[in-house]
Structures are given as C-alpha cells and as structure tokens.
C-alpha cells in the first residue's frame, strides 16, 4: 500500500476501564470507499470517535495521512451518528449545513455570503435545497441524514468519516448517498463508512474492515468476504476476550501502560 489515508496502531479504548476496542491495528488505503463492519456494540462508533480524538485512548495511536490528527484536521470531515443529536434544536436545515463552514479560524466571524453559497450547493447535491428553511425537527430520518451529509460536503475534506449514514434512509436515498461517495472517490477522496448490512457491504465498498472488539480482518473486499471471517466477526462475542474485559473492569486493572509514539 503506497498511499495510506489512515493508520491505527495498537489502538485500545476502554469505557469505565472495560476495553471496547482491543489492540486494533490496521492501515487503510487512500482514494477508496471503506466499510467498517461489525455487529451491534462491536465498537465501530467508538473506533470513529477515537480516530477523531473524541474518546481518550488507553493506548496506541492514530495517524491520518501520515500525520497527527491536529495537523490534518481541516482535511477531515466527521459525520456523527444521526441519533447523537437532538433534532428538536431550534435551527433550520441551512443553519446546520452552515456549521460545516465553522472553523477555529473564523471564531467570532460572521458567516459570509460565500459560505452560504457553498452550503446551498451542498444542499442541492443531496436534493434538499427546497428544504433549506425548514426547521430540522420537521424532517424525516432520511432527510436528517442528508442534512448531515450536506454539512460534511461543505467542509471540502479529503477524508470523510461517516457513522452509519445509511441507517433509516430509503432505497433511493441510499443510492443517492452512494453515488455521492463514488463521486468523492473519483476526485481522489477517501470515504470511511460504518455500516451494518452485510448484504450491501459487498457492493458498496472497495475495502472492508471487520470489527468485533478486536480487528477481525482488514483488506480488499474480495479477500474479506469468506465464510470463516464473517463467522468470526458475527459469530457471537469472543468468550475469553469479553471475560477478561470484565475482569479488568472489576479489578480496576490498568489495561496497558500508556505509551507515546
């Protein structure tokens, strides 16, 4: 792999001292659409959050385009799980999409006309332009998802990290989102997507990461889709691993000495 978009190195993350990601170590190629797949509670959201520095790491590190997160932040767009916000918030579709234009550099500054144009363009791409003044609580789940994607489009990023963008959208929207991702790929961007559905995963992604607390496999989809690996990822929890995790939690044991790169 010459062109690496993202690398996690021995990543371990715990909640209340119980590890939910264990020694996850992989490299992801740039310019591809990458699916992160695993059963509920397997740590997919946690993985994205630790990549984005939203969850403290117990050990290991993450490199993006060969650099630390803070140096490349402006090249990354993070799309959180739709359920992570309260859609009853008093804001319009346009307000939320414009948030993609905020940055530490324009603290205190007002939103400019240019930002608004960029936001309108993004809304057009996800087919929501006519809804731009709509209050966000009056959107359907699929429309909310598209609002988040439009916000991400305004960020002009090279790496997109999306948490379950296909959840709760209808088939037409799913295809539209996928098409956007393919356009991004053609422009050389990297798209990392958390995904649930094994059936469609095969068609959607070039590269697949199978996750179940630990890394089950990471590779081009042709190598990953075999019975054995899928069984490993989905065939229930790893018994010993989860038992040890519980022990660690109960005994308040340090999972590993914190190490810096």
């Amino acid at each position: 792999m010459e062109n690496i978009a993202l690398e996690t190195h021995n990543l371990t993350v715990s909640y209340n001292r119980k590890p939910v990601l264990w020694n996850v170590d992989f490299k992801l190629p740039a310019g591809q659409i990458i699916g992160i797949i695993g059963p509920n509670g397997s740590g997919k959201t946690t993985l994205l959050k630790s990549i984005m520095g939203l969850t403290p790491l117990s050990s290991g590190y993450v490199e993006i385009f060969g650099q630390q997160l803070n140096e490349v932040r402006s090249r990354i767009s993070y799309v959180p799980q739709k359920e992570s916000v309260d859609w009853d918030f008093p804001a319009s579709v346009m307000d939320v999409v414009l948030m993609g234009r905020y940055s530490p550099k324009n603290l205190f500054k007002r939103i400019s006309k240019k930002d608004k144009d960029i936001a309108a363009e993004a809304l057009e791409k996800v087919n929501l332009l006519e809804f731009s003044n709509r209050q966000i609580s009056q959107l359907s789940g699929g429309q909310q998802q598209r609002v988040f994607i439009a916000r991400s489009l305004t960020q002009n990023a090279d790496l997109f990290i999306m948490d379950e963008p296909f959840v709760g959208v209808d088939a037409a929207t799913e295809q539209a989102i996928l098409k956007l991702m393919q356009e991004m790929k053609e422009k050389g961007k990297t798209v990392i997507v958390v995904h649930h559905d094994l059936q469609t995963a095969k068609d959607y992604f070039d590269w697949i990461v199978l996750l179940n607390t630990r890394l089950v496999a990471s590779g081009p989809k042709a190598d990953i889709f075999n019975e054995e690996l899928l069984q490993e990822a989905y065939g229930g929890k790893l018994n010993v691993l989860s038992k040890v995790g519980e022990l660690v939690r109960q005994n308040d044991f340090p999972i590993r000495e914190k190490q810096r790169k």
Binding site: L54, S84, P90, D95, L107, Q135
Partner: protein, 430 residues
Amino acid sequence: MDDLLNFLSFSDPNVRFVAFGTMLLGAAAAIVGTFAFLRKQALVGDAVAHSILPGVCLAFIISGTKNPIYLLIGASISGWISMLAVDYISRNSKLKSDTAIGIVLSVFFGLGILLLTSIQHSGNASQAGLDKFLFGKAASLTADDVTIFGSVAAVLILVVFLFYKEFKLISFNPDFAKSIGLPVKTLEFILSSLTVLAIAVGIQAVGVVLMAALLITPAAAARFWTHQLWKMILIATFFGASSALIGTFVSYSYPSMPTGPWIVVCLSMMALFSIFFAPKNGIVPQLNNQKINRLKIRNENILKLFYHLGEGNKNFFKGYTKQELLASRDFRIQEIVQGLDHLKKANKVRKLDDYWHLTSTGLVAAKRVIKLHRLWEMYLNQKLKLAPDHVHNDAEAIEHIITPEIEKLLEKELNYPKKDPHQSTIPYND
C-alpha cells in the same frame, strides 16, 4: 395607581436605575439560560443557584461587609464548585446526574442556611438584608449594587453575542465541534462560567430559591414561539426583562413584598400563556386547527351528499328537505343545520321554501371532493395494490386534506382516469 404612574414615569432617578438594573439581570439570565435550556442543564442551573448561598454567606463573614464585589466573588466560587461537584459525581460514581444534582443542591443549600442563621444571630449590624438573598428584594439594592451587577450582566450579554455561532454549535452537536478543532472544552468552560455569573447576579433580583426559574422559564416559554435560535433568545430576553421590571415595581410599591416571587409569577404567566396560545405550537391554536378541520370535513361531506343524491336522480340541482338529507347519510341533526347554514353563507347551497339546493359553485366544490375521493381510491388500488373493497375508508379521510398541488400530481400520475375502482365516474371540473 399613582404608584404605577410614578414608577412607570421613572421620575425617581433611583427607581429608574434599579428598574433598569434588574431588567438587565433578567435579560442576562434569560439569554444564558436559553443555552442552559438547550443543553438540557435546567436542573444544573437550579443546583448552582442554591449552592451560591454558602458562598455569599462566607464572603460576608470573611469580608465583614456587604460589598457587592466580595459577595459576587463568593457566589461565583461556590457556584462553580457545585457545578464541578455535580460533574464529578455523575462521571465517577454509579449515580445518575439527577441524583448528583439533588445531593449537591441539598448539601450546599443546607450549609448556606446554616451560615445564614448563624450570621443573623451574631448581632452584626451590617448583616441586615442578607436574608434578601433567599427571595430577592430589588428595592433594597443600592446604586453600587446595581452598577456592579448591571455591568456584569451587560458583559455576559456581550460575550454571548460574540460567541453566538460557537455556542450554538456546541449546544447542538459538541462532537462535531470537536471534530473540526474548535476549543470545545474552553467554550464549554466559558458558557458554564457565564451561567454561574448570570445566576450570581440574578439572585439579586429573585433570590436563590427561585433563580432557576429566571434562568430557564423564559427559554422554555420562548421555545413555543419560534424555531430559530436568535429569535428564541430575543423572545426569552423580552420575557425575562419584562417580568423583572414588573417584579421590581411590586417590590417598590409594597415594600413588604419580596421581588423574586413576583418575577417568577409573571414569568409563569407568560409561560402558561405561551403553552396555551402560542401560534401553531400552543394548545389553543392546535385545538382550533382541529376544529377548523372538523368543520371543513363536515361541510364537504354535506356537499358530497348532494352530489351522490344528484347522481342517483340525474339532477344535481334538485332540492331536498332537511329530513331527506338526514335520512340519506348518518349526520347528526345539528351538523346538518349548522353545515347547511355555513354552506349557504359561502353560496354553495341555497334554500327555496323548505328545500335545499346545490348552487353551481357548490357543484364545483362537490365535484372536487368526489373526484379526490375516487382518485385516491384509484391511487390506492393501482399503486398500493389494495383491493377495491379496502380503499373507501381511507379515501373518506384523505379526500379532505389533499392540496391543489397534490391533486395535480395525482391526476397526472394516474393519467386522468375516467372511472374509479368501483366503476363510478370520476367527475372533473373543466
């Protein structure tokens, strides 16, 4: 009455000053409170308000004066400690945050009452008025107090104005804010400090017991009136400031009255009013809307009845008595009476002797409802593959809500069918 005029004319410069000051406090609390409300921190606000009391008392004991600066510092410190305590307990123990809030609130407030009682029994002459912190008393504010608390409030408002965009983002989606590299921790620290300060100055007007109401109620009421954050803030400010003004007035006119309860009573009235009467979201407009819908459905059903009878008789303009109409469809007698009256005013029916006739305007309206009904049956039958005997009831409801735009779409999509699934003719108004 004279009191009111005197007060409103602001002829007494001191009254003017204090009134303006408390309005600023009310406004600052409402503005900062809007963010606390949106971040679901209403209860934290209550805990901080109660926890400020020991800080005020200690500041008084240590400094020996009621100098507003010392009191403000004491209040802010204990307010902050309580906020950190809530945070720490809910993060590091198995207790849920509401329990943590309850614990912190009662411990701090209990301590505060203890200190307050011991100060009052100490015989210190300058302690008089410290108990005003419980329920607030605007009339006892000195010019110095007002200057200091008013300026703090003004600064709070200014800071919110500066950080408006960022506060909005961290209230809506803090994870995203972190992901783009905003200093979310710092912004949250600033917002929390603003909350503590707003509470610390607000208690001058309402006292610690009712401070949470001054913080949260304006926002809760304002939420009913708008879906836009900046409008919500403006409306909350108006509610906060105007109740502060009214409370101050009462406190001036009837010196035995504490200010806080009056402010809170006003605020509660405004909130109640909003809950009931805010356009669209209020209970009354919603009921009203339901009533309008009911009437529309009733009138359209009467028109349909005329049409059906006319279809049978091959004469749409034939007249019928009330009894005939009642016999043909299950209406209550009032419904028919009121409905016909309504339709008569709209020129859709007319009455000759005892017979009611459809007018030509009425026929157009009746045709439209019938058409929508039959088109919708067609749609359900063709596109949703429902059997013809399953589509009627659904169409009975939907026919009344289809808008002209959807009507056009429907016609086009079905390609202007002539018959419905029951082979009845679909009437078009051409």
